[in-house]
Every structure is written in C-alpha cells, then in structure tokens.
Symmetry: C2
Subunit: 226 residues, 2 copies
DNA sequence: AGGATGGTTCGGCCGCGGCCGAACTGTCGC
DNA sequence: GCGACAGTTCGGCCGCGGCCGAACCATCCT
C-alpha cells in the first residue's frame, strides 16, 4: 500500500459526517464514551461502534476500557492538527468561535459520573494522598485511620453500599488519577452541599464558587488559579 | 451546512484514491493538464474530468484554460499544508524521500511542450524584453527589427508555419510569462543545439550545462545561480 | 475544410459502505 | 441470582458514487 493510498484511507475516515462529528467532539482532548459519541454523531450506538472500531484500527483514536465503559480519545496531537488543517481549508467563514461551550472549564473541574475530575479532582486526590489520608495503588485505594477521622470531620461520610469504596480513576485531561468510588461520590456531594462547587446545566463542567476557592485552599491547600 | 459537514465534504474529496493521486501530483506547485492528471491517477480521462470538476468546485484546485488545455494546480498553499498533515498522520514510515524525481530541477528549467519554462524560460523572456527585442502584451507578442537581427545572429530562426509566432505563456512555477510559439520553440532548439541545455529522460526538467551557464550569462545576462 | 487531439457530458453498471433492528456479551449494582 | 445498562456483532436494506464506453464540444494544425 503506497503512501498516497494510505493518505486516501485516512482521509476517507474523516470524510464521513458521523465520523467527522466523533472526531471533532474529541478535539478538545477529552475522552468520551461510545454512547456519548454516538449521541454527538447523531447515530445509533451500533453504528457508532462500527465507526469507532474503524477509527481505532486506523490509530486515529485510542481506546481504554474503564469498567463497562470504553473511553475514546484522539490517538495523538497529530490527529488534532490534521483535523484543524482540514477545517482551515473547509471553513471559509472567518471569525468562527469555539463551538464547545465552556472551553477550558471542563479541564478545570468536571464531574466523572458522581465524583470530581479535572484539575480539581486530581488536586484533591493529591492533597489527600500527601496528607496521608488515603493511599492509592495501581487499581485500588485505602483510607487510613487519620483519613477516616479527617473525612468524618469534613462531613464526607460515604453511604453504606456494596460499591467499591475508594478507587483511583485515571483523569483524562490531567492523565493522573483522581478518586472514584463511594469516597469520591461522598467528597463531591459534600463539596456541593457546602456550596464550594456548582453544577452547570447540560455540561459536565463544574464551577468553583468563591467559597469553594477559599475552602479548597484552607482545607486542602488547593489553589487552581495558578 | 455546518462546519463539521463541510470538513467531512473536503475530507471525502481527499478520500478517493484517484483524487488523492491527483492532488499529490500537484503538491510541488506545478500545474498539470487534465490528461496528465488522469495518467497520474491511473484512471480514464472521463473519470479524471469528473474528479477535477469536483475538486475545482470545492476550491481545492484552480483551473486555467490555456488553448485547448486546461491546467490545474492547488488552489492555495493551505491545500498543500492540509495534504501534508494528512500524510503525517497516515504515513508511519519515517525517512521517506521526495517522490518527485528532480525536485527543484523542474522549477529551475524545464520544457513546456517545445519551449523553455521555469526560471530559465522566464529569465530569457525578461532579457529579450528588456533589450527591446520582443514586446509581450497580454495575449500576444511581437519581435522588433533589432530583435529579428539579434535572433538571426543567435541562430534561432523560427521555421515557417501557420503556428503563432510569438506568444506569452504563463509560467506555472514563476507565475510570470515566458515565450511560447514558434519563437519559443526555435530558442529552445537553438539552446539545445549549442549544448547549453540538455534534456532529461522521462522528465520535463532540463539541465543547464557549464557552456550554457556561460552562454546565457554572456548573451542574455542571465545568472540562475543567485 | 478536414483531421487530430484535449476535454467534457451522458448513461448505465456495480460494488462499497453507512445505517438500523435484533440478538449477544460483559460489567455493574442490588 | 436478577435486572439494568454499555457496547459489540450479525444480517439485510439501500443509496451514493466511482468507473468506463460512447458521443459530443472546443481548439489547434495543416
């Protein structure tokens, strides 16, 4: 297969509207599930599954299994550059604004199911780890005695459930772990309860309130303004 | 039509092997005829014509009529950048060399049918014009009396024919006119006869011999080494 | 004028590939 | 165990589009 044939193969992958929607939805570097991408592309989950398999086979996307979900992201920055260069040729309309609401807001703080992710989620995990309250290993996590006391004091009491208590969850924008499981959910719920964070409508982005900025700094030594 | 749909449309145009061959054949900035592009793409002239029409409609190619030929070239450098970025994603093979034999040789000097083009052809036209030997207008050209004497002295006597005697021909790499017609053919033939230039096999590129370098400098004040 | 050549248009064939319904696998949570 | 949900695979439908033969138009050359 010649270079030109390979180029045509890649270009043909971008040439389908559904796949183009999938790729552009991932252009901000996030990783999304197959279902989210199916919705973004306005096709059924089966159809999206086929497209995602082809894009992954061609190494345009990278896939990582996470429980019963499969997260897809652009395989490399080169892919994003390619998309932008095609956009540059295709888009004669000047002054177009970023179509993704929120922009960097998602990278700063967002929900991952019921727990916190983004820079805030990772910083929270770092803080608890450094303080010796939790210990995150490769695929599990534990809370120390001091940690239990700290969490009780903070007001984050995980509900009783068979669900895993504390688990590291790879953060897709930061590429470092944040805290999932019941503990992660309890932390997020308590932050919401305290008014430190606020959810946004129709978005996974989370805003940090002034009270939250102060609270995260005092309790956890977190300052995201840097 | 949304931005993403437009991007998909453009990408789909690159996604066909025949069109991909056409576009890559034009990546060095030259302008080629429909037939040459059909050959490059290994498809019939009718098929190539259809592809070329679509590429031109989408403003990926620019077309210019030249007699009974139609020359196609990339519509803008953006298109070339796009092709390269797609190549970058598609081509995992490192260290690939430029597939176009000759490289810059074509831009320096080449034949355009039976006359000279490229930097040499344009320089020749400039020299003759500045010396008052020929006068090139928008779509025609004339040779002055002094010009006729000069050409006779040089040994470039156009053969008798109904073919147009002197005509400016837009040079595709220099974007400026060179001399075509019987006069252009006679000049090229004489330069070849004098051993100033040499044709290359299977290429439109022409090499300037040491004798040619000296001759062009002395007779025409041309120095392409700059 | 007549012939040669470059290029396009038309018509029809055919196959690739996108799409979805249905059924299946795997994971989670109770 | 069960039900719910994410995701994939399979099968079949269907239409878009690439391809070429043939005819047609335009330009050049003699």
């Amino acid at each position: 297969m010649s270079d030109i044939t390979r180029m045509a193969t890649v270009a043909a992958l971008l040439g389908d509207p559904a796949r183009a929607n999938i790729l552009t939805a991932l252009m901000d570097g996030r990783a999304l599930t197959a279902k989210e991408l199916a919705y973004a592309a306005r096709v059924s989950p089966q159809t999206a599954s086929g497209h995602l398999a082809r894009l992954t086979d061609a190494s345009l996307l990278a896939m990582e299994k996470q429980g019963r979900h499969r997260y897809f992201r652009l395989a490399s920055p080169l892919v994003g550059q390619m998309l932008e260069s095609v956009m540059a040729v295709a888009g004669p309309e000047p002054g177009r604004i970023n179509p993704w609401r929120g922009g960097d807001a998602l990278r700063t703080a967002r929900t991952c199911y019921d727990h916190l992710a983004g820079r805030l989620g990772v910083a929270l995990a770092d803080s608890l780890t450094e303080a010796g309250h939790v210990a995150l290993t490769g695929d599990g996590g534990e809370v120390t005695d001091r940690g239990h006391a700290f969490l009780r004091d903070f007001g984050a009491e995980p509900v009783a459930s068979k669900r895993v208590f504390c688990r590291p969850c790879l953060d897709w924008s930061e590429r470092r772990p944040h805290i999932a499981g019941r503990l992660g959910a309890a932390l997020a719920a308590r932050c919401l309860e305290l008014g430190w964070i606020a959810r946004q409508r129709d978005s996974r982005a989370v805003t940090i309130t002034p009270a939250g900025a102060q609270g995260f700094a005092e309790r956890f030594g977190i300052d995201l303004a840097e």
